[in-house]
């Protein structure tokens, strides 16, 4: 595989690995945890550096993951105290954690090039150049293996604990009633989020992780009604956005992570506009469709009302309808056209008369009940 294709593979694997736990984050309204972790892991990295005195040690990565777990536990404990809402809990914990890291650096290591970026690789473009070799055999980029493993573990855990996770996400009190342990399931999920996030920070960078954890599941949320399809869609959207962003970055020679994050936004924006049922366009279409539908019924009611009465020749003339109904002429034409098309009315000379179907429908409308 060429390095470009390896990057694509890493991007897709990371995207899928992040979208899986991301789906639960979106549903649980704790999406911002992903960003909070990216700030909050700093003190863990710093302390691990003090212990190892080595910026390249894998211990730093492990410490980052452990700090991530600690962060979500802290946030969760605050939320559970019910003294502070979710978003504020996140907003209290991560600045405090980050500040501890900054103070440690400023006091003890201000001349070491030590920060989150310097410790976690965080850059897709370099990922193909860090490779896993056993003996003389090149097994491919390290990031592909690490993210592949995380993806595998996430997928297996989610499949095994599907029911429990679903319940704990959708309705924690019901889960408790049914004898599940939402706390255990929840902390398990949060550990998954944290490990995935830190692993992915190392592979692709923090901002892309935040984008991949939130945007694909949010896009899927626009399109799907149930958890299973939503997660499937999230995975598909994540992979598609990663591929599109990658291709755009290659074509324009720009930041790959930035491009994929932008693609995530673009995919969401398109779904937001064009989603078949929930999209803005569909909403607007439906409005105008309903207006027309509604007008057709009004027309029928009007025609029925005057059918067979002396003023019918006046009231039901095609060219006079608009003034009687108080409609604009062009709109009236559209409504009559629609009614004709649905065979609800027919022309009889200058008059518009309801057909049998139209009469039926109109009567229903008058009675006000047809469900």
């Amino acid at each position: 595989m060429s390095p470009e294709l390896e990057i694509l593979a890493i991007a897709v694997v990371t995207a899928v690995a992040a979208a899986l736990p991301g789906t639960y984050l979106v549903l649980r309204r704790t999406a911002m945890v992903s960003d909070a972790i990216s700030h909050a892991i700093l003190p863990g990295i710093v302390v691990a550096f003090f212990l190892t005195q080595n910026l390249n040690s894998p211990v730093l990565l492990v410490a980052a993951a452990a700090t991530g777990v600690f962060t979500v536990v802290l946030i969760e404990a605050l939320i559970r105290s019910r003294l502070v809402p979710e978003d504020a809990s996140i907003g209290i914990v991560f600045p405090a954690m980050f500040s501890i890291g900054v103070i440690l650096i400023s006091r003890h290591a201000s001349n070491v090039h030590l920060d989150t970026d310097a410790v976690l690789l965080g850059e897709l473009a370099y990922a193909p150049f860090q490779r896993l070799t056993v003996g003389a055999v090149d097994l491919g980029p390290t990031a592909l293996w690490s993210m592949g493993t995380i993806l595998l573990v996430n997928a297996v855990l989610i499949i095994l604990a599907w029911k429990e996770l679903k319940l704990a996400t959708v309705d924690a009190s019901l889960a408790a009633l049914l004898g599940f342990q939402p706390l255990v399931v929840h902390y398990g999920l949060m550990t998954m989020v944290s490990v995935t996030a830190v692993g992915a920070f190392d592979a692709v960078g923090s901002i892309l992780v935040v984008a991949l954890m939130i945007a694909p599941p949010a896009t899927a949320y626009l399109l799907a009604e149930r958890l299973g399809p939503m997660m499937g869609l999230a995975v598909a959207v994540a992979a598609a956005a990663a591929t599109m962003g990658w291709a755009a970055a290659m074509a324009l020679d720009v930041s790959i992570a930035g491009s994929i994050a932008t693609a995530c936004g673009a995919v969401f924006a398109v779904s937001f506009l064009l989603a078949p049922r929930r999209g803005l366009v569909a909403q607007a279409r439906r409005r105008s469709g309903q207006r027309l539908d509604f007008a057709v019924r009004m027309l029928l009611v009007h025609l029925l009302h005057h059918e067979g009465t002396p003023e019918a020749t006046e009231e039901c003339r095609e060219d006079g309808l608009h003034s009687h109904l108080g409609w604009r002429e062009s709109w009236t034409k559209r409504v009559v056209g629609k009614a004709k098309q649905r065979a609800l009315v027919e022309e009889s000379g200058e008059l518009v008369l309801p057909t049998d179907t139209g009469r039926h429908l109109g009567n229903d409308a008058v009675i006000g009940f047809s469900d």
Binding site: R277, Q290, R291, F294, M298
Partner: protein
């Protein structure tokens, strides 16, 4: 009932969420002084109807007139009591403050409520027998007390029309009695009261007119004329339980 003029007139109101019409071509005339219940099964669009009539949810089509004037000009004539559960009860404020919010409409911009406004609020609180609770943080209220506070807030608005969304949902018996008493008093004073209601049994007792709603307006008018088994079957689709409830209601009164 003598004709005291039309308080609220809804014409051709259609509302849709997603692709389902929630309300379909609703026509409704409410006479001034009426005590009207809006009744229908879950998902019939009862709450949506009063929200749409208040302009709180966008409607696809239709018109609302208040005392013959377009809604935009007549909005000040309506006081609205939202569903209790739609509010953030953990908000840092006390009972008197919430009730005083009812005076904000008449205060206009920038002016702060003063002693006069607080007095009005206290009177309203007394009327719902919550006078002793004026300094109580709202987070510490029971469901029934919350409901009475919201009613008091609407009373303070001194509007000729009141719309209440499920005021009896999950409240205790004393609260229910207190609310009914207030509604009766309002009606006696010539105010118009429109209530989204879910308990069929109490309709004949509490209200003098009723709108049967299931996406469409099935029928509306005086309880005696409209609240029939046939109409209820049309409204509720002949569900078991509903008719039993009705039977119970008939034997009860």
């Amino acid at each position: 009932m003598e004709d005291r003029g039309v308080a609220l007139e809804v014409e051709d109101l259609t509302v849709a969420y997603s692709d389902q019409p929630v309300l379909w071509d609703i026509d409704l005339v409410v006479q001034a002084g009426d005590k009207m219940a809006i009744v229908g099964p879950n998902g019939a669009g009862k709450s949506t109807l009063i929200k749409a009539a208040m302009g709180l949810v966008p409607s696809v089509a239709g018109e609302v007139r208040v005392f013959g004037r377009p809604f935009a000009k007549g909005r000040g004539e309506i006081a609205y009591v939202p569903q209790r559960s739609s509010l953030e009860w953990d908000f840092p404020t006390d009972v008197l403050d919430v009730v005083t919010m009812g005076t904000y409409g008449s205060l206009g911009w920038f002016r702060r409520p003063g002693a006069a406004e607080r007095d009005r609020a206290r009177k309203a609180l007394d009327e719902v027998t919550m006078g002793a609770f004026e300094r109580r943080p709202i987070a510490q209220l029971s469901g029934g007390q919350q409901q009475r506070v919201l009613l008091a807030r609407a009373l303070v608005q001194e509007a000729p029309i009141l719309m209440l969304d499920e005021p009896f949902q999950g409240v205790d018996a004393p609260t229910e009695q207190a609310i009914v008493a207030v509604l009766d008093r309002l009606s006696d004073d010539g105010k118009t009261v429109i209530v989204v209601h879910h308990d069929l049994q109490t309709v004949p007792e509490y209200f003098d007119s009723v709108l049967l709603l299931n996406v469409r307006a099935i029928e509306s008018g005086p309880v005696g004329d409209v609240f029939t088994e046939e109409n209820l079957r049309l409204t509720f689709g002949g569900r078991v339980g509903v008719l039993a409830q009705l039977a119970e209601a008939e034997t009860g009164h």
